[in-house]
């Protein structure tokens, strides 16, 4: 199994740490992983994105131009990455702040109101974990016990008391994610 993922949004949304937690969760189940960020000034206030690959085999290119999954958290990223989802792939996005919704018919599209759910959890920083939950509900590529270990590994000790809240946020994401378009169903209808 190989899952090639792009996570893209604004700097400060926790895009890079979401990628890191996914990567660590992959390591916890003995997978090969790579985490390739955008870096430099583009991260500071501008758009941030990270390519994360989890695989049972040696990973070749950490830089990709098509993805199994795109997790998209702002309009600029939607404009850039919608076309880069492989046919039959998955696009998950937070509709908050999106003016041009995805139009692809040959992929699965899901929405998660991450910002809204995070504020209902009274902690806006849980945003990225809500998003991760939404993704893992549709593509359960890592087991929750490994996500737990991944959180332990990637968060510094002083933040470990936040792990239960993060896990709660993941569960909220799993519950609230909505598949709004599925190419498979469309194929079946035809």
């Amino acid at each position: 199994m190989t899952e090639e993922i792009i996570i893209a949004g604004f700097g400060g949304q926790g895009v890079l740490s979401l990628g890191k937690i996914l990567a660590y969760s992959g390591i916890m189940q003995d997978q090969e992983v790579s985490w390739m960020p955008s870096y430099g000034p583009e991260m500071r206030g501008g758009t941030a994105n990270v390519t994360v690959i989890l695989s049972d085999d040696r990973i070749n290119s950490p830089v990709l131009n098509e993805f199994d999954t795109a997790i998209i958290l702002n309009q600029q990223s939607m404009d850039k990455f919608e076309s880069m989802v492989k046919p039959g792939g998955l696009l998950i996005y937070d509709p908050n702040g999106i003016s041009h919704h995805p139009e692809r018919k040959d992929i699965k599209i899901a929405t998660i109101e991450g910002a809204k759910e995070a504020s209902e959890l009274n902690n806006k920083k849980t945003f990225n974990m809500v998003i991760m939950g939404a993704f893992l509900k549709i593509h359960p590529i890592v087991l929750m016990e490994n996500v737990h270990k991944g959180l332990e590994k990637s968060l510094p000790q002083r933040h470990h008391h936040m792990i239960p809240l993060n896990e709660k946020a993941i569960k909220v994401g799993m519950k609230k994610v909505k598949v709004i378009h599925d190419y498979k169903k469309l194929v079946a209808e035809e």
Partner: protein, 361 residues
């Protein structure tokens, strides 16, 4: 038990330096390699192993501090990115002339000039053809994974002391910035002066006992007759290294009738290209030089007896392609594909280039 960590290439190299028993790191920050000194300062190896970590006032100061430490037989290293390496070249040439071992890492960014902070591979000529003045070579190691960023520190110092010559790790911003799984080496002890003499010979300025003459570390000899003899000695060393130290990896070259040649990040992308090409029925393979100097000429020449052509894939306008051309000796066509200025080629555009070149043959 093996310690598996998720680390950036820059961090893995820094941690590997502590564990290799390195005595001193002197550096000056520059994107995309600032995590090296950042990590070292955070880890405080001066408390763990006694390793010195110092932010110099400039790249020039840093390389000359390395010269000083190396002259004492210490394992000293520095790292920078392209413009910073240009500043260090005078010191690097002096160290090659004075036969001082050291490790220099270049986490390349796009150039020329200040260029960009995004990844590049346009310092190939600078690394393998000299860069500094005079007839010298660096042994140049090209990591293509975070694991190799860690592994090449110890290997680099082994080679540096074996040949009493500077060794360079030629990496790029992508390998430096990305995180992968890495298995860290065991902690090695730093060496005492007695151990330095025992392991590496009695050439360093470790303190003069009455039993021997002074050890003099210099690259200067004003008598041309003697300077030529010194140069011949250096050239003999380089010939030995060319014979013994070539390293490379072949990926699906056995039955390939078209071969990509790439190192570092471009080699990672090219592995994907080989996979995608094979899925389309193209018999392509990848030759990945691990040492850029000495360059794996012999294997490329051998592959040229069977393959119909070569494509050098680099994040440059075409530098390594010249060494591929020399190695192929005109037997088959050699082409180049590159992106510049911090742009990284996507696997599909490289595959398009491969198909275009194959169709020309």
């Amino acid at each position: 038990m093996e310690e598996v960590k998720l680390m950036k290439g820059n961090e893995a190299m820094a941690e590997a330096a502590i564990r290799a028993g390195v005595d001193a790191y002197f550096g000056y920050p520059i994107t995309p390699q600032s995590e090296v000194i950042e990590y070292l300062m955070h880890e405080e190896p001066f408390k763990r192993t006694g390793m010195v970590v110092l932010q110099a006032e400039s790249e020039l100061a840093a390389i000359n501090m390395v010269y000083g430490a190396a002259a004492c037989g210490k394992k000293a290293m520095t790292s920078s990115s392209s413009p910073g390496i240009s500043l260090k070249l005078e010191g690097i040439s002096y160290m090659a002339g004075a036969e001082l071992p050291c490790l220099i890492a270049n986490v390349m960014r796009g150039g020329p000039g200040l260029g960009t902070i995004q990844p590049g591979q346009s310092d190939y000529f600078q690394a393998v053809k000299g860069g500094g003045h005079g007839d010298y070579n660096l042994i140049v190691l090209a990591p293509s994974t975070v694991q190799e960023m860690a592994d090449f520190v110890d290997l680099g110092f082994d080679l540096a002391f074996k040949y009493r010559n500077p060794v360079m790790i030629l990496s790029d911003g992508a390998i430096g910035q990305m995180m992968e799984k890495v298995i860290l080496p065991e902690q090695k002890e730093r060496l005492s002066n007695e151990e330095i003499i025992k392991h590496y010979g009695n050439w360093a300025t470790t303190g003069k006992p009455e039993s021997r003459e002074s050890n003099i570390i210099t690259s200067l000899d004003l008598k041309p007759e003697l300077q030529e003899i010194h140069n011949q000695h250096l050239q003999n060393k380089f010939k030995t290294a060319e014979k013994n130290e070539v390293r490379y990896e072949q990926i699906q070259c056995e039955d390939a009738d078209y071969i990509l040649v790439a190192y570092g990040t471009s080699a990672r992308i090219s592995q994907k290209v080989v996979q995608l090409g094979r899925e389309k029925g193209l018999k392509i393979g990848l030759l990945r030089p691990i040492t850029l100097w000495p360059f794996p000429k012999k294997i490329i020449s051998e592959l040229a007896d069977h393959a119909k052509g070569f494509l050098s894939v680099e994040m440059s306008a075409g530098q390594m392609v010249e060494d591929v051309l020399l190695a192929v000796e005109g037997k088959v066509p050699v082409a180049h594909f590159g992106r510049m200025g911090g742009m990284i080629a996507s696997p599909s555009e490289v595959l398009d280039a491969v198909e275009k070149e194959i169709n020309k043959i």
